[in-house]
């Protein structure tokens, strides 16, 4: 049978799931009565957020011009946090559909993924969807695509109505090249995803490049060197269905009693244990957390539960890292590393749904590389550990792609510049739409950049980013002192030029949040010993009932009891008491992914 492996690149809501459903119908992959809407998106978490996080490959059969074809659709996650996973999925394909909503046009994330596909030399089939809608602007979108790809042949479809879908499916067969690969060579496959099954361990999803694999084969994972025996191989229909063998060019899964998801890392190459020297496929990268946050149970006594939950999550989330940490205001918790803000949010949701745990996550920060005065290099992922004196400091920079209607260019450029951005490219996709790229420190991007971008563009701009490199920066740690005590969890690292402004901001916020105490409270922001911002909370002057006789006692007592209960919810920084909510407002600042 002939094989075509392809994926769909699309922005959220542009119709990827709807189109996939039409394909499944056309190929009779599920009998219509079995078919729940949008079978590809199955995790309910993803459904709610309208995003695909995990990819769910599906194998379809289609007869065209007297020939039987296997069509493997490999879905891609649509979020910047998972760029690496997207690139691995694309590496498993020979072609990709670029799907663009006729009413929305091209969005930044789509472009980022399109570039990934072009890097892999994939055949791109541009498609304009939703042409049934009255406000479809096919000409404009056509021009954008033309501008991006120089491609004249653009499909116009309505996934919802089914218009043009069959032609598109057949175009895939016509245009996407069949997989290369030699079934006679030793076995070689790429892991493009993996799931974790409580009973069977990690199950890698693979694309076979050379040779074949069947139960009983001994296989070797190139990155770890570990060897396993295959117990099952199978394909996605879209549920997992065992088969006898997976051959070069095919897409499927294998089960081999792999205990930990770390041993089935996305991007790794699996080869035959008989031919361990078979070279690995290029592009493997260890999952690397990019943002870090303190994670604490809302109920402090749930710390052991949180530990257990993270251990479990780690089994099927190779990107998650964590170590214990302690905060005076929040108690015992963990410093957790995430791929990005969405990954962070997903982890919070999973802790809630799968373990019933409510957690507090502190303002995320990036990782820093610091060369100390003695020449050693230190990696810092918690601001409180950032040294006061150093030779050089480096912070991660990313390339941010932004697509926006031209009228918002001004405020967006201003935003990027205020975040230490440097413009790299600037480009009109059509007369009204601009694509431009900025190099920005990741820290600036994860600190409410997205919210600000949406605000200044009234929701119209879209963005994506990719990691560039660590770059030297003039960074300082700003300490926050309350009543002369340093509050570790409030320390932050910023570029020197912004230290004063942010220090002032935190001090002012704290001044508003900390209720008056019996004594004066001094709040300071400091770099080393140098105080850069300061304010005072005057002491309570008067809190006394003038008249207190028989009839007043109950009311007065109830008031005191309420105050006392309120006090219990106060957290202590040294001898200063402040409401946990207030502290949290500060620890978590305001950020949204």
């Amino acid at each position: 049978m002939k094989i075509r492996n392809f994926s769909i690149i699309a922005h959220i809501d542009h119709g990827k799931s709807t189109l996939a459903d039409r394909f499944l119908e056309l190929t009779g992959t599920l009998r219509p009565e079995d078919m729940a809407e949008q079978v590809l998106d199955s995790m309910d978490l993803e459904r709610e957020r309208g995003i695909t996080i995990k990819m769910h490959p599906v194998r379809m059969h289609y007869r065209y011009q007297g020939e039987d074809y296997i069509l493997n659709l490999i879905d891609t996650p649509g979020h910047v946090d998972f760029t690496y996973e997207v690139s691995r999925s694309l590496a498993a394909c020979e072609g990709a559909i670029l799907l663009v909503d006729a009413t929305q046009g091209v969005e930044a994330q789509t472009i980022a993924n399109l570039y990934l596909a072009l890097e892999q030399d994939l055949t791109i089939i541009p498609v304009i969807n939703k042409i049934d809608l009255p406000n479809a602007d096919v000409d404009r979108v056509r021009q954008q695509i033309l501008d991006l790809l120089g491609e004249e042949e653009i499909f116009e479809i309505s996934a919802k109505e089914g218009w043009g879908v069959q032609e598109l499916l057949e175009a895939i067969i016509e245009k996407v090249p069949p997989p290369k690969g030699d079934p006679k060579q030793p076995f070689k496959a790429l892991i493009f995803d993996a799931v974790y099954d409580e009973y069977r361990g990690a199950i890698p999803f693979i694309r076979v490049f050379d040779g074949s694999v069947r139960p009983g084969d001994r296989i070797l994972f190139k990155s770890s060197g570990k060897v396993f025996e295959v117990v099952e191989v199978g394909v996605f229909r879209p549920h997992r269905v065992p088969v006898e063998v997976l051959q070069a060019g095919e897409v499927g899964y294998l089960a081999a009693q792999v205990k930990e998801i770390r041993d089935a890392a996305v991007g790794d190459t699996i080869v035959s244990a008989q031919a361990p020297e078979t070279p690995a496929l290029p592009g493997y990268r260890e999952p690397k957390p990019m943002v870090f946050s303190g994670v604490y149970p809302v109920v402090p006594s749930e710390y052991p539960l949180l530990q257990k939950a993270l251990d479990k999550l780690k089994l099927n989330d190779a990107a998650l890292t964590y170590v214990g940490e302690h905060s005076p205001a929040l108690g015992a918790g963990f410093r957790v590393g995430f791929l990005g803000l969405l990954h962070m949010e997903i982890t919070r949701e999973r802790l809630r749904r799968e373990f019933g745990l409510e957690v507090i996550m502190t303002t995320p920060n990036v990782e820093y590389k610091v060369v100390l005065e003695d020449g050693t290099t230190k990696i810092v992922d918690s601001p409180k550990d950032f040294p006061t004196h150093y030779e050089k400091a480096f912070e991660p920079f990313v390339l941010v792609q932004i697509i926006t209607p031209a009228e918002y260019i001004g405020p967006i450029v201003e935003l990027c510049q205020s975040r230490r951005g440097v413009q790299r490219t600037f480009h009109y996709l059509d007369p009204n739409t601009v694509l431009f790229e900025y190099e920005l420190p990741l820290q600036e991007v994860i600190f409410d950049f997205y919210d600000k971008l949406k605000t200044v563009s009234r929701g119209y701009a879209s963005m994506d980013y990719e990691f560039l490199e660590f770059r030297e920066s003039d960074l300082v740690r700003v300490d926050i002192l309350v009543a002369r005590e340093r509050v570790d969890s409030l320390a932050f690292v910023v570029h020197k030029d912004q230290a004063y402004r942010l220090g002032r901001w935190v001090v002012d916020r704290l001044q508003k949040l900390i209720p008056r105490q019996l004594f004066e409270v001094v709040i300071q922001a400091a770099i080393g010993k140098k105080v850069i911002a300061k304010s005072r909370i005057p002491p309570i002057r008067k809190d006394v009932t003038a008249k207190c006789y028989g009839g007043d006692v109950t009311r007065k007592r109830k008031l005191l009891e309420r105050q006392k209960e309120g006090k219990k919810r106060l957290k202590k920084i040294g001898k200063v008491e402040l409401p946990q909510e207030a502290f949290l407002a500060l620890l978590t600042r305001e950020h949204k992914s």
């Binding site: 105490q517 019996l518 004594f519 309570i540 002057r541 008067k542 809190d543 006394v544 009932t545 003038a546 008249k547 207190c548 006789y549 028989g550 009839g551 006692v553 109950t554 007065k556 007592r557 005191l560 009891e561 105050q563 006392k564 006090k567 219990k568 001898k575």
Partner: protein
């Protein structure tokens, strides 16, 4: 913690006469317009209550305090029936302290003579200020001259135990004006002075004005100075502060009011009056009579806000009431929170407020109760420990 047998519990009687000729602008008490036709049915109901309560709560009384409202608005014949009923139905433990509250405009020689006849020795007079403009703002219906005349009559009738009520923090009042009021009051020769910082009470006219931004109150600094200056002025004349708002010449502290602050028992009669009686040494009941004339007339034993108090409630009350007193409360030194230390002194097992502490007494109470709670000390032992009294200085 205490080895010796506890002192007998003292019991006071409070009787509320709600009638006032005009509602003062700062007043949040339960009051009724003084209408002639209401007096007789009211007194009837009161007599019924006296009879009922005296038989239900027969323990002897140590003090009686008749307050209001303006008790002095009630005409002499009604007063006579009332006092007869009280003295006829209740039992007393000598020496009993009897106090009647009066307002200057309704002090009459007849009434004073009657009080004397019934053995009443103590008069509490609401003079509030020495300045007519301030009295006017407060909505009082007397002026300084009326107050002075009333005091001279009171003295002329042989009452030597007299309290004067004063208010500070009045809209527009200056520190100097407050000092002059204090000095004026001292010149009137009272044995006792109550000095209350004006509180914006719920339902008062001042509350309304306050919300509308029409009330210019002295600033926080001035009020603080007003609190502090009391000690200077009154101290110089031999008055000692024995509670946050109360000053007395030695031996003239109000025994009735001490009952509240020392967490002793009281029985309240008349609408809105509160009662507090122990059920055991670690539980008590507090209730309030109805605050509604028709319902009170219908059944003077109707209650509202009836609650039982357990160890935790009693401990909280003992602390915030007791800390108001000069002698403070028994407390372990090591348990005094750091933040509280600058506001208290500790001596012979008791913690008491210093000059600065007086201004933040309520907050200190919260801190002390929290300190006990943090140490898991909310239990019967602590309650008994807090109940240890110093000898009654008023006796």
């Amino acid at each position: 913690m205490s080895g010796k047998p506890p002192d007998p519990i003292r019991r006071g009687l409070y009787l509320h006469l709600p009638f006032c000729r005009r509602k003062c602008r700062y007043c949040g008490f339960f009051t009724l317009p003084a209408r002639e036709q209401d007096f007789a049915p009211f007194v009837e109901a009161l007599l019924r209550e006296i009879e009922a309560k005296a038989s239900r709560y027969p323990e002897p009384l140590d003090t009686v305090f008749i307050g209001g409202g303006t008790p002095s608005t009630l005409p002499v014949p009604h007063w006579r029936r009332l006092l007869q009923a009280l003295q006829g139905h209740f039992r007393f433990r000598e020496p009993v302290e009897w106090t009647v509250e009066m307002n200057p405009e309704s002090v009459t020689p007849d009434l004073l003579a009657l009080f004397r006849d019934f053995g009443i020795r103590r008069i509490s007079l609401g003079v509030q200020s020495a300045h007519d403009e301030e009295l006017e703002i407060l909505g009082r219906i007397h002026d300084r001259a009326t107050a002075e005349r009333a005091i001279s009559w009171i003295h002329a009738h042989g009452f030597e135990n007299v309290n004067l009520d004063l208010i500070f923090g009045i809209p527009g009042q200056s520190l100097e004006s407050w000092i002059r009021s204090l000095e004026w009051a001292v010149q009137q020769g009272p044995t006792h002075l109550s000095t209350y910082h004006l509180t914006i009470e719920k339902g008062s006219v001042f509350e309304q004005w306050f919300q509308q931004g029409r009330l210019t109150l002295p600033d926080a600094q001035t009020v603080e100075a007003m609190y502090r200056v009391r000690e200077e002025v009154l101290g110089a004349h031999g008055y000692q502060r024995y509670e946050i708002s109360n000053f007395a010449k030695p031996g003239y502290e109000c025994r009735h009011n001490r009952i509240y602050w020392e967490h002793q028992e009281y029985l309240g009669l008349g609408p809105s009056a509160a009662s507090f009686l122990y059920i055991s040494d670690i539980s008590a009941r507090r209730w309030r009579n109805v605050q509604d004339l028709p319902r009170y007339l219908q059944n003077p034993c109707f209650t509202e806000e009836d609650e039982s108090l357990g160890i935790s409630e009693l401990i909280t009350e003992r602390i915030f009431l007791g800390i108001r007193l000069r002698e403070g409360i028994p407390f372990r030194r090591a348990w005094i929170p750091e933040a509280v230390q600058p506001f208290v002194t500790w001596e012979k097992g008791r913690v008491r407020l210093n000059q600065d502490g007086v201004l933040v007494a309520d907050r200190i109470a919260v801190e002390l109760v929290s300190a006990l709670e943090e140490r898991g000390a909310i239990h019967a032992e602590t309650l008994r420990f807090l109940g240890r009294r110093t000898p009654d200085p008023g006796a």
